[in-house]
């Protein structure tokens, strides 16, 4: 889809959800919701158009990608059993970070966690990665309770997941090749030739030219390229689950569209389960199977984007009105 095409009234979306609701707010909110519905419909149309126009090219790329990847395990799973589950999870430091969060993500789904800043969105990712341990509740990954694992056991569980950080978090002392090859070298016994092949495949998958970027260092890349290398590194060991922390923040609309399409491609072609933390409602609604909305450290909505836009809840209306 063309990211340059914005719905009318896009400027008004910049208003925050916390702003006061003036007279006529309801009318405005309704128009914004309508715009979102149009956007969602547009996505479907765009996807269809895109598919028809680039069918041959995509088929070829998909074939290459299928050869490059081992089928993700999630494709063989029972789709009704959650691959990630948070059960009444709470965490506080000096003040509550998240309270009584319950969330389940089934194989192949893309769940987007949205909410205001400071409501604990990124904390949920850290709990799933077991970088943080909850005060109460359970975090299950692949049916295994990871709450009480030792540090070494947690390292093993993390190998099932790939993480893309807000700033990409590429190792700046390593080249692009070394960054993407790092997890492969760490956890497999592949030969140098096989590692080289794997790195090239992953870079191609994220639409980067291996020969052009492999020798470059992160400081030589643009923000969007860094994010894509981060995704390639996350994918390097064919994880079942991909986690994204603000994958589109700080990017221009075109690059935002590229990253969003990439996350959708992962779900579509590899069946990877994705959990995305984002502020960007537009791109979130494009990629999400489900959306979780956080307010006051709690999940106040968990459902499909369509259900969210159709909701009459005042906070959800305000949040979407703040687009």
């Amino acid at each position: 889809m063309d990211d340059r095409r914005q719905p009318a009234g896009g400027d008004r979306r910049a208003e925050s959800a916390g702003e006061s609701v003036e007279a006529g707010e309801e009318r405005k909110t309704a128009s914004v919701r309508q715009a979102i519905r149009s956007e969602l419909a547009g996505d479907v149309t765009d996807a269809a158009d895109s598919a028809s126009q680039q069918q041959a090219q995509q088929a070829q790329q998909a074939q290459q990608a299928q050869q490059a990847q081992q089928p993700a395990k999630s494709q063989r799973r029972d789709p009704t059993l959650p691959v990630v589950e948070l059960d009444h999870v709470s965490l506080a430091f000096d003040s509550p970070i998240i309270e009584d969060i319950s969330l389940s993500v089934c194989p192949g789904e893309t769940v987007v966690i949205v909410g205001e800043s400071g409501t604990g969105k990124s904390t949920i990712l850290k709990l799933i990665l077991r970088l943080l341990v909850p005060d109460r509740g359970q975090v299950m990954v692949d049916g295994e309770d990871i709450t009480n694992l030792s540090f070494e056991e947690a390292l093993m569980v993390r190998q099932k997941m790939g993480m893309v950080f807000q700033g990409a978090a590429l190792f700046d002392s390593m080249s692009v090749f070394e960054n993407v090859a790092y997890p492969v070298r760490e956890h497999t016994q592949l030969s140098d030739e096989e590692i080289d092949k794997r790195v090239r495949e992953k870079l191609q998958f994220v639409d980067l030219e291996p020969d052009r970027v492999m020798g470059q260092f992160p400081s030589e890349l643009s923000g969007g390229m860094r994010k894509r290398v981060g995704i390639a590194r996350g994918l390097a060991n064919n994880p079942e689950i991909m986690l994204y922390d603000e994958p589109t923040s700080g990017l221009d609309p075109l690059t935002t569209g590229t990253i969003t399409r990439l996350i959708m491609k992962l779900e579509r072609e590899l069946g990877v389960t994705s959990i995305v933390v984002s502020h960007d409602i537009r791109s979130s609604f494009r990629m999400a199977s489900k959306v979780a909305l956080l307010n006051n450290h709690r999940i106040v909505f968990f459902g499909t984007p369509e259900d969210m836009t159709a909701s009459d809840d005042k906070y959800i209306q305000d949040f979407l009105g703040g687009l």
Partner: protein, 271 residues
């Protein structure tokens, strides 16, 4: 509990926790030296960073320290007509104390700050979290190679520092004070021999001179890694970690030096 007692309680707990964390980091990093996977390439790279790249500054420090030692001691020794013993004084001072301490302080300033800044930057740009999420233990990958490299290279740098310092004393002795080189080197060896030997063949001065930098190397690397990994607050935090590393490791070097000297003087039989 009164407010000031509560604050005192919190401050004490915080200090105890810091010390505990420091020693846990030290223990883990040393334990991982013997645990797979081994990051041999990282160790070699750090040896280059800590050792080879510090060579110039350490040699310069040693040279001028030896020269000034010879100059200063010649003033005192001239009073007793004992300037021919300048080699004894320079070698004993350099090998036992000044060599290890000055090399340690120089490495703390150059390498300690570098390690803290590097790890601090990695922390604030989420590279440490990235290592964790990629299933790598950051202590094993980042701390252990630096600690091992420092344990090896700081003693090597100290030996070079000692030797260059003694050569500096020789230069001043022969050019300024008028002590012939042969006489100078004979007194240097006499000093080492007169201070006795451990296990029959190892000069006591060498034991002092090599055990200290070994400990100092560990202190510098672990302190730098501790503050670097604990960096918070963006680039300002990186600066604070760097400063804390240099100050803390310099103070620790001076304090630990006293205690090592005290212990070794009571254990080794001199003369």
């Amino acid at each position: 509990m009164p407010a000031f007692l509560a604050r005192l309680n919190d401050a004490t707990k915080s200090r105890v926790l810091t010390i505990q964390e420091y020693f846990v980091l030290a223990g883990k990093s040393l334990r991982f030296i013997f645990a797979r996977p081994f990051y041999g390439q990282d160790v070699v790279q750090q040896m280059d960073e800590i050792g080879v790249k510090s060579l110039g500054i350490v040699m310069l420090t040693g040279l001028f320290t030896g020269m000034v030692l010879a100059l200063q001691s010649s003033v005192q020794l001239k009073t007793f007509g004992a300037t021919m013993y300048i080699g004894n004084l320079v070698s004993a001072s350099m090998i036992r104390e000044l060599g290890p301490v000055l090399a340690g302080l120089m490495v703390a300033g150059r390498v300690g700050s570098g390690i803290a800044a590097q790890l601090g930057s990695m922390r604030v740009t989420e590279q440490i979290d990235a290592l964790n999420t990629l299933g790598t233990d950051p202590i094993k990958k980042l701390v252990t190679p630096r600690v091992l490299a420092a344990l090896i290279m700081v003693p090597v740098l100290t030996v070079i520092n000692d030797f260059i310092g003694i050569i500096g004393g020789n230069i001043i002795g022969s050019l300024v004070i008028g002590v012939p080189s042969a006489q100078y080197w004979r007194t240097v060896w006499d000093q080492i021999a007169n201070d006795g030997f451990a296990l029959r063949y190892i000069p006591n001065d060498f034991i002092q001179g090599l055990s200290k930098p070994f400990v100092f190397g560990g202190i510098i690397a672990i302190t730098a890694c501790y503050f670097g990994l604990g960096t918070t607050g963006g680039t300002e935090g990186v600066g604070q970690s760097t400063t804390r590393t240099v100050v803390t490791s310099s103070i620790l070097i001076l304090i630990v030096d006293y205690f090592i000297t005290q212990v070794l003087l009571s254990v080794l039989s001199y003369g």
